[in-house]
Symmetry: C2
Subunit: 142 residues, 2 copies
Amino acid sequence: MSNSYKTKQKDAVLKYMIDHKDSHVTVNQISDSFAENGTPVGVTTIYRHLEKLLEEGFIRKYTVDGATGACFQYADNRQCREHFHLMCEKCGCLIHLECSHLNELSQHIFSEHGFQINPFRTVFYGKCKTCFDDEKKTGDTL
Amino acid sequence: MSNSYKTKQKDAVLKYMIDHKDSHVTVNQISDSFAENGTPVGVTTIYRHLEKLLEEGFIRKYTVDGATGACFQYADNRQCREHFHLMCEKCGCLIHLECSHLNELSQHIFSEHGFQINPFRTVFYGKCKTCFDDEKKTGDTL
DNA sequence: TTGCGTGCAAAGGTTTTGCATGGCA
DNA sequence: TGCCATGCAAAACCTTTGCACGCAA
């Protein structure tokens, strides 16, 4: 059994993740932000707290093509148990999609195909409306 | 314009990926396998060929929680354009799912939610039937 | 012969680990 | 006072790059 103490660093990391819940961040971004604010936190400590938050289900971890290193994003699994997530490959925004179609889909894939989807892990990658419209305007095909 | 030569290493990497199309592999696994077969290939070369195969759409690249480093898997995008993929988190098998429900889902998410799903990138993570049944039998909750 | 391919060595990053110190309870 | 937390330094990895040599065409 391991207990845990309340520390400035622990609070700071959690606060940072919540404050940036609308985008994904890397360890370097977190570290740089703390350094700029005059309250630097060692990267080791940041890694350790992110790992705990991950285990506890408060954040998600994934890799994004362009980014260097892992990306983390706040998304409380206790609140996100019932819906899926859409990740825009262009701007990186995370959309929480409440939609009965998706729940039906899970049911269908389980009952008809015998596959049990893990909604915590599964993310739909693609292009959000804003980026899609931007692309049409500028003719940018990326 | 860059031409390309036919080499033993190039053939070996492609052959390995095709032979292992039912699971994902890491660069180390590929390298070790070649070494064991008595025809070692430098990791640099493996990385370079995988990168090309990726650009050409013959393989996919992603990260898996347990694995160290990136995972690659053969899945010709020219053949896999019309369906989605299910990845078992336990045994690592990749299921190519031809299902009209999923195509309808793409349509629905695009028309109703304005999000354009990228089927090349999107993978449903979860548990395949075999692993699910195994788990029930052994009572293993992982 | 020309130019791409190969692989060693080294560099550049990210992430983890060891360990002495610091801080919470 | 006990532990846990912290962060520096170092290690362990993964991946990329530079460069001389090898090999396909």
